[in-house]
């Protein structure tokens, strides 16, 4: 890990104006990703994960959208760049893998063409044989059998898992420094999920690409990432190393998330515990802590929980945003576990 992070996000806010009101999809989100690191962002649907990911590449669009805060890639603020300068960074410095490989590939062009396009965009002077070699190599690297033959096939001739491999090949063809994987396994079969995760991990180790893995699946996080960012209601509620999040969560929401996952080695934890209620509407976020209505540890009427938004503070080896004091949090959490 170097001192200056590869990606530094500070106070990122993304809001959309809708007929029903302003949606603050992402609110004051800050985090770093260092070169070669794997960071996970976890949260329920509507927690702002994907909007954050898209904001990193300035992919959120629409006249009704506004983005504030800074996204520094190698110290350069992406927000200050022109559209063309951002375009040159897309796919070259930051690449992206989407959730649904079935719809992420252009159905009208062969997969080879699409991988070649990703390369050509950033190597306009590349000659045909060179591009061909790059395509064959990158398809082979992600485990497409017989890449020389298969590069002429169309997306619909591949299975879901194979298509996701192709999307990954496309993302990696320019050796980006950061790979954003937005729910890369959600649309796939469980067995295929494991293969794709393994592939991402292998590539991350081979090429030293930093990976920002966005998911709602804690199992995926546990398997692949080093550091975890937990989001709720558009805000970061906890950030810590993967070990401490799983062993010693310091935010009631993270605890709830862990409780709602079935795990074989958690015999002592009893049955599945769902978090009561549902994620808040981003238009009408509750005052104070967004998680308060669903929180088991809420401090009651008139307390800070209902009046002020908790900010991230250092707790143990990580950070979390909760009004309960640290000792109290640890006590309550152990009590529930026991």
């Amino acid at each position: 890990m170097t001192d200056t992070p590869l990606l530094r996000v500070r106070d990122l806010c993304v809001s959309f104006r809708t007929p029903d009101g302003v949606v603050r999809a992402v609110d004051s989100v800050s985090f770093d990703v260092h070169a070669g690191e794997t960071v996970g962002i976890v949260g329920e649907s509507g927690s702002g994960k994907s909007v954050t990911a898209n904001a990193l590449m300035r992919l959120n669009s629409g006249a009704q959208m506004s983005t504030t805060g800074s996204i520094l890639l190698d110290g350069v603020d992406l927000g200050s760049l022109s559209e063309e300068e951002v375009r040159l960074r897309r796919g070259r410095d930051i690449a992206m893998v989407f959730q649904d490989p079935l719809s992420a590939l252009n159905p009208f062009y062969s997969v080879g063409d699409q991988v070649a396009e990703a390369y050509r965009v950033h190597h306009p002077k590349a000659r045909r044989p060179e591009v061909r070699d790059v395509v064959v190599e990158s398809l082979g690297r992600v485990g497409i059998p017989e890449p020389v033959k298969r590069m002429y096939s169309f997306p619909h001739e591949f299975s879901g898992g194979m298509r996701q491999r192709i999307v990954i090949a496309m993302a990696l063809v320019n050796s980006p420094r950061l790979l954003i994987a937005d729910e890369p396994t959600t649309a796939l079969d469980v067995t295929v999920q494991a293969q794709i995760l393994e592939l991402i991990q292998r590539i991350q180790q081979e090429s030293g690409t930093a990976v920002l893995l966005i998911t709602h699946d804690l199992g995926v996080i546990a398997e692949t990432t080093e550091r975890v960012i937990v989001m709720y209601g558009g805000r970061v509620v906890e950030e810590a190393s993967v070990e401490s999040v799983f062993e010693q969560p310091t935010h009631p929401y993270t605890l709830g998330l862990l409780g709602s996952v079935r795990s074989l080695d958690s015999a002592g934890r009893g049955s599945l515990r769902a978090i009561p209620g549902s994620p808040p509407s981003l238009i009408h976020l509750p005052a104070g802590c967004a998680f308060r209505p669903r929180c088991r540890f809420e401090l009651g009427e008139g307390s800070l929980c209902g009046s002020s938004v908790p900010t991230l503070s250092v707790v143990g080896r990580g950070k979390s945003a909760c009004h309960l004091d640290v000792a109290e949090r640890e006590r309550l959490i152990t009590a529930v576990d026991g």
């Binding site: 992420a104 159905p107 009208f108 396009e117």
Partner: protein, 329 residues
Amino acid sequence: MLYFILRRTVFAVVLLLAVSLCTYVLFSALPSDPAALTCGKNCTTEVIERNRVRLGYDKPILEQYGLFMEGIVKGRTYGPGEAAVHCPAPALGYSFKRHQCVTALISRSLPVTISVSVGAFVLWMLLGVGLGVLAALKRGRWQDRVATGFSVIGISLPTFFVALLAVLIFTVWWPVLDFPSYTGILTNPWKWAKALVLPWSTLAVVSASTYVRMTRNGVIEVMSEEFVRLGLAKGVRRSVLIVKYVLRAALVPIVTIAGLDFAALLGGAVITESVFNLPGVGKLAIEAVVDSDLPVLVATTLVAAAFIVLANAVVDVCYGFLDPRVREG
């Protein structure tokens, strides 16, 4: 792919045969006696019966159809001896009203209709797709409003109204053009184009309206597709993205409808040809209806049907080229 084209062609031929049989039988079932229509008011039964035999109307329907098909392949001679009339292949019948072979009538009017159709088609595709794309890209802004407004007006106005309005404006109020009188493209290309500007524009305005909407909606739909976003994430230039990703995908369904619309036009732009007095297939058909000229009616119907069947086949083959997912089917 070759197999796909072959199969599609065989299917088209079979379909054409079926259509021709239906058309022939249908028109023969009309209550008016074709033989009686061959001569004027002062007709004797003998003349009618003679004409019936001469034109083959005395035979059973299926045999008549057989003769008709034979005529298309080999040519056909009507009547015996001195008074015999020969129509060379492909003979589509003999018009007893005009005393001419139907094929000759059609081959004279078809170039007119093709001139009208091709020009109008090019114009309306440019206008329709162009405005549609513009509207989609400038969604919600004034360009979108103008394009959508144009489309609403175009859809609401009937063809004959637009045609008459065009004549009124451009030949009477603001006489930049003469009232169109058709000249062959080989005779005088300038006059040809000048005579066709109004019919082209009329058809373009009326037909483009649907295409503005289809293109606009198609483009907007495709723009929200995941693969377009991925293209953007790859760093593809926006202009390239719009042509290579968005238009490519949005135009596939439009090609299908455009092919059929074009074919329908080739079968005769009845109203436009009538208003602008263009001697095309549509006008021929109308006159045939008025005169009860059955052979011409059968032939024009068949020609129109043939264009549709042909266009269907061409569109299907094009579809295979345009959309790789259809090829296996």
